[in-house]
């Protein structure tokens, strides 16, 4: 049947030839049922239209649009209008008015949403023209009260993409308009439909991306959205909070239910950390990823992320460190590692301790042992970025990172090894850590082993025994997987040149106890490089 249709239409096209618009017109007039008309439109959509005939085609489509009673056909026409507006070289300003007019009497919400989408296309092609954008934004604002989420959704998207972002100064009026746009979008943070709420947050993020400086006032609104019932909303809200924390890191925000204050970036960090234990893994991934780029966070907040037990109390600035000690020594919560230390000790002033709800504590501990490997990878990446900018944090997170070398999923192991390599300038491995690291040399995956060789190339080892251990393990590795030869030699060479003083006393021992070194090839590489030092 499909085949027949195509034959028919191609014949028709040949007969009625002169222009595309005329052909379409004839086709649409012939259509006896909405299904027919749809079929024609679908076929038409498959063929390209030359720039010069776009306007004509649009006019024909509009004409039919007004005559058409069937919503699905109007929907298709609306989407075609958008498609045509995208034609390279075509400037849609000539059809903008007509497109806006179509909105007026449209009853179907679906078609309305599609028409707004078309306007968005037109608007994005005419971004140079502020008055056009202004007009489209006005149209969108008018439809924000529509009862359909789809329409409100599109309106917000349009406002986000086309809303005024000009900075104040040049014209006071415009900066006022920019403020208003934020207000309008912000009002929809509380929309009854989660999809609209998400769209509102995304629109706000879009404005930010286009260069508008978001107002700090949005921060408190965004924080409330973190408790939304829907994961898309929470996920977008996390992003928005991150953006605001980058814009106003040093602003001071109050801590609720206390009269103390805190830097905005620290507050945001705590909140995003909190989302690392969200119920939805999508949100958890998002949160874990963003943590990595919050380098401005204060170091004591950062360090909390590695301790589950401290809970949230460190939020209070002044007494932070004292309280931390108190919590440790009074053994408020036990760690579960020793038998019998979970009996409640004497009560400390519980009124002063504000538990769990807030704060960064243990965020990475949670993230690194998440059930989804996506979250674990995101956490490892974030750990890497934070460790690169903070040597003290790098030192502290080492134990956790080393533990990740034993993750059950290969990708996570690989990522952890790469991460460790990236921060290797900031760290020196203890022997027990090195032990765990080296154990991975037995991994059956070649990627992992090679990554590990690379890591060893640039690792600082603290003791002579450590180096010895590394060499022994590498040799074991060589026997087990002879194909790793090249990679291991390179590794040995760098290891040697990095720790000349530690290697030197080992040389005689190595040469005698490992006759393997006497075979011609490794002899060239390994001792040679050691003596070079």
């Amino acid at each position: 049947l499909q085949q027949q249709h195509e034959d028919l239409s191609s014949k028709k096209l040949r007969l009625t030839k002169p222009s595309k618009s005329a052909a379409l017109h004839v086709d649409l007039c012939k259509a006896t049922s909405p299904a027919d008309a749809l079929q024609y439109l679908l076929q038409f959509a498959r063929k390209p239209v030359e720039v010069e005939s776009v306007e004509g085609v649009v006019r024909i489509l509009l004409e039919h649009y007004y005559k058409e009673n069937d919503a699905s056909v109007r929907l298709k026409i609306a989407s075609l209008l958008g498609l045509l507006s995208k034609t390279a070289g075509f400037s849609p300003d000539c059809i903008m008015d007509d497109a806006i007019n179509t909105l007026q009497n449209e009853k179907s919400h679906q078609v309305l949403a599609q028409l707004l989408d078309t306007l968005l296309v037109i608007g994005t092609k005419l971004t140079e023209n502020p008055s056009v954008r202004m007009r489209l934004v006005e149209v969108a604002c008018k439809h924000l009260t529509d009862s359909s989420h789809g329409v409100r959704n599109k309106c917000l998207q349009l406002i986000g993409c086309l809303g005024p972002v000009e900075k104040g100064g040049a014209k006071e009026v415009e900066s006022q308009a920019a403020k208003d746009v934020q207000k309008i979008i912000g009002d929809h943070f509380n929309d009854q439909d989660p999809r609209v709420r998400t769209a509102a947050i995304k629109a706000m993020l879009q404005l930010h991306e286009r260069g508008l400086k978001l107002q700090q006032a949005i921060y408190s609104q965004a924080c409330k959205l973190l408790a939304d019932d829907y994961e898309q909303v929470r996920s977008a809200a996390v992003q928005l909070i991150w953006v605001l924390s980058q814009l106003y890191p040093e602003s001071i925000v109050p801590i609720p239910s206390s009269n103390e204050e805190i830097r905005l970036v620290d507050d945001a960090f705590g909140k995003i950390c909190h989302m690392v234990s969200d119920g939805s893994w999508v949100v958890r991934v998002q949160a874990a990823k963003l943590l990595g780029s919050m380098q401005q966070v204060s170091s004591h907040f950062l360090e909390q992320t590695l301790d589950k037990k401290l809970m949230s109390d460190l939020r209070r600035k002044r007494t932070a460190h004292e309280r931390a000690k108190e919590l440790y020594s009074s053994g408020e919560f036990s760690s579960g590692r020793k038998w019998g230390d979970d009996a409640p000790k004497e009560e400390i002033d519980t009124g002063a301790v504000n538990l769990i709800e807030s704060g960064a504590c243990g965020a990475f501990v949670h993230g690194l042992e998440d059930e989804m490997y996506e979250v674990r990878i995101a956490a490892v990446e974030a750990l890497c970025m934070l460790a690169q900018s903070s040597p003290s944090f790098a030192e502290k997170c080492l134990d956790f990172l080393v533990d990740m070398f034993n993750d059950e999923i290969e990708e996570v192991r690989l990522q952890s090894i790469h991460t460790m390599r990236k921060i290797s300038n900031n760290i020196t491995l203890r022997e027990d850590q090195l032990d765990t690291v080296l154990a991975v040399l037995e991994d059956s995956s070649r990627d992992i082993r090679e990554a590990l060789h690379e890591l060893l190339c640039c690792t600082n080892v603290s003791t002579k025994e450590g180096i010895h251990l590394a060499l022994v393990e590498l040799l074991k590795n060589l026997t087990k997987y002879p194909t790793d030869r090249e990679s291991i030699w390179k590794c040995l060479k760098f290891l040697g040149s990095r720790h000349p003083t530690l290697v030197l006393p080992l040389v005689p021992e190595l040469l005698s106890t490992h006759p393997f070194f006497d075979t011609p090839e490794p002899d060239m590489d390994d001792p040679a490089c050691i003596f070079l030092m």
Binding site: T145, S147, N190, D191, Q192, D229, S277, G279, K308, K309, M311, F333, S334, S335, G336, R337, K338, W339, G340, D342, A343, P344, T350, N354, L355, I356, E357, G362, V365, L368, E369, D370, E371, M372, Y373, D399, F400, D403, M404, N406, E408, I409, T436, A439, E442, D443
Partner: protein
């Protein structure tokens, strides 16, 4: 006031026993009382039950029990930290009236799980390397599988040769169930399953009683987990005298058991028959228990957002501590009844009402979009029939119930001083109203009357005083608001005409 009653029969401030009786909306539900094997327990049709993944052991579930709008969540045992073979417990924001949570580890917040795993492996490895034997008392399902997978992969990676044994029969049985319910395990096992079943162990073999006397290193998993009887106790007695050996207790031990005694540091145990057993082997404790720790419990409460919390399965002293934390943190009531003690919780259930589509559309067309925070006034008829509530338009209600409609009309006379002719007065009133009520349709009808929406206004001259005109305003009950507004407006008189 509707209420939910909870009476723990075995689990109140107690560990190891269970059974809780819950009365909700006139229905009695017994939780955790064992199954009625072979019987098909009738489930009431008003009772809704929803299961959530609980981690802990394969197949563990938390249950939401719902009658109408009242609901209770019973967690059973759950684990918020994923392990080597299971995922973490998860619940949606179901906002139950009551969350009944276990609280075995009410005062513990565990370190990173990976540290524990590393420590465990290290201890086992060291003992085996120096030729010692390792006894790991476990319960049949759960920790056993987790630790098996852990050791199995470690043995594989480190290429170790010492044998690992597991109490007879259990591995095969467990393996069978894990094959059946592979979708309930964690991400890694599900992914690996495409190539192979991780529960088909290469290094772990079935244990025979005679093996305990074999020389050389070995690792044995044996039941039960608290060393109070059975195979694990037998092996323990055999190995306790050698300091090269080690026993690792991976979980909780109830007071009075051998496990509890040795963990508390007791080195001389009195066995049956007045026999004294001296414990020379190393005793290690490692919390591999698959119960949520304090932070996990708090996390679950945060996710579910219950209105009340009730703690069971825990020691009273520890529960008290956690209870305080919960009340402080979430500002909800927290209870911890003892066995046989009944806790009553008052609920404030919302009552669902079905609204007819027509009415809903009409109402939303009038007003702005509904706002969650503001109550909305609606005009309709509530029909209560057959235990259900419906909100319909008055017309539909009349039709359904076969009632005739009666109209209630208010009429009001307003006197106006105006010497002009009647139709001129009418025109002045018309212009006045038209000017003020811009959003309403104000019409001047050919018969000389004025309508504002459906409100009728007529003017007649006063029978005695021609200079006074009487305005008759008439409106239906539905238009009461506009009607009374109009009369008060007209009572203020007409503006002085400029002409």
């Amino acid at each position: 006031m509707p209420e939910i009653k909870v009476t723990p029969l075995g689990a109140g401030q107690d560990v190891g026993r269970s059974c809780i009786l819950v009365s909700i909306a006139g229905k009695n539900v017994m939780l955790d009382c064992g199954m009625h094997m072979g019987y098909n327990d009738d489930v009431d049709e008003e009772l809704e039950i929803k299961a959530y993944y609980a981690g802990h052991v394969l197949g563990a579930a938390m249950f939401q029990i719902k009658v109408g709008c009242e609901s209770v969540v019973y967690t059973g045992d759950y684990n918020m930290t994923p392990d080597r073979h299971l995922g973490a417990a998860w619940i949606d924001k179901c906002r139950p009236d009551l969350l009944i949570s276990e609280s075995t580890y009410a005062t513990t917040i565990r370190d990173s799980k990976r540290c524990r795993e590393r420590d465990f492996l290290k201890k086992v490895h060291e003992t085996v390397e120096r030729g010692g034997k390792v006894l790991i008392p476990v319960f049949a399902l759960g920790r056993a599988q987790e630790l098996c997978i852990l050791l199995e992969t470690f043995w594989e990676r480190m290429n170790l040769k010492a044998p690992i044994y597991f109490s007879t029969g259990l591995t095969e049985k467990a393996n069978h169930y894990y094959k059946l319910f592979i979708t309930w395990t964690n991400q890694k096992i599900r992914k690996t399953f495409v190539q192979r079943n991780m529960f088909e162990f290469k290094h772990i073999k079935a244990f025979d009683r005679a093996f305990a006397d074999n020389p050389g290193p070995m690792v044995v998993f044996a039941t039960p987990g608290m060393l109070h009887a059975g195979q694990s106790l037998q092996i323990f007695r055999k190995w306790a005298g050698n300091e090269k050996n080690m026993v690792i207790m991976p979980g909780y031990c109830v007071q009075g058991t051998v496990g509890h005694k040795i963990l508390s540091g007791q080195r001389k145990l009195e066995m049956e028959g007045r026999q004294i057993l001296e414990v020379k082997m190393q005793v290690e404790y490692m919390s591999f228990s698959a119960h949520a720790d304090a932070k996990g419990i708090m996390q679950l409460i945060r996710q579910a957002e219950p209105r009340n919390v009730l703690l069971v399965h825990g020691e009273a002293k520890k529960m008290e501590f956690l209870k305080q934390k919960i009340e402080q943190e979430f500002h909800v009531n927290c209870y911890m009844p003892a066995n046989g003690e009944t806790t009553t919780i008052f609920t404030n259930p919302s009552i669902p009402v079905d609204i007819s589509l027509g009415l809903l559309k009409r109402e939303t067309a009038i007003g702005l979009l509904p706002d969650v925070k503001k109550p909305k006034l609606m005009h309709g008829t509530l029909i209560m029939k057959d235990n259900s509530f419906r909100l319909v338009s008055p017309e539909q209600a009349l039709k359904e119930l076969g009632l005739a409609e009666h109209q209630l009309r208010f009429t009001c006379r307003v006197h106006i001083q105006d010497p002009r002719k009647e139709h001129e007065t009418v025109l002045r009133v018309y212009n006045h109203l038209k000017g003020i009520l811009k959003d309403y349709s104000v019409q001047h009808l050919p018969d000389g009357s004025i309508t504002v929406e459906s409100i009728l206004i007529q003017a007649t001259a006063h029978s005695e005083d021609q200079g006074t005109k009487v305005l008759l305003v008439s409106w239906t009950y539905q238009d009461e608001e506009l009607g009374s507004y109009l009369t008060s407006l007209l009572k203020k008189g007409l503006p002085q005409s400029t002409s």
